[in-house]
Symmetry: C2
């Protein structure tokens, strides 16, 4: 049972949950109201997201508030970094190419 961020954000419903939660903390019932599935299905997604530490729980009486662990999202950003370097280099290459073409006129 793999449980990393990439696995976490792979499912569209989970990405929707993340987007929802990002605005403000919510309880499973409130979250489930936004989807066409059962609360239990949403609960499963919440478990997966919590296990890969993208979400954190806060208990208030019998209610559990789920909120986004923004810091964890940075890990995706960190992973992207190496490729960002590539597309920025390519952009620079295009940039110097354009400069050359310009000066040639």
């Amino acid at each position: 049972m793999r449980r990393d961020i990439f696995q976490g954000i792979a499912d569209p419903t989970r990405r929707a949950i993340i987007a929802l939660i990002a605005i403000q903390a919510m309880t499973p019932n409130t979250i489930a109201e936004n989807f066409n599935t059962t609360r239990q299905a949403v609960s499963k997604h919440l478990r997966i997201l919590t296990e890969c530490e993208l979400l954190k729980q806060e208990q208030h009486g019998r209610e559990i508030y789920y909120s986004l662990e923004v810091e964890k999202m940075k890990e995706i950003d960190k992973w992207l970094e190496q490729y960002r370097r590539i597309w920025e280099t390519r952009f620079n290459q295009l940039d110097t190419l354009l400069a050359k073409t310009k000066s040639r006129k």
Copy 2:
């Protein structure tokens, strides 16, 4: 059969393939040499990555070179953007908090 970028990068082997390909274009056989699976298994991953447009093919005789479609990677960056705004805001809040604490001394 879902086939989007998030699904594409969900598998660790596929992320490794992306990292490998990012440096230079490669044929399935060469790629497969880097993994403990069969060439066919790698071929399946290549198909998935190509279907979600993260990879592009270039045929040279009987060899097929796979290379990274860097532009497509930007879509993940674009998705991250909304959350980057959140963590930057939180950083700023921390920043102003620190400034306040400082000036109070």
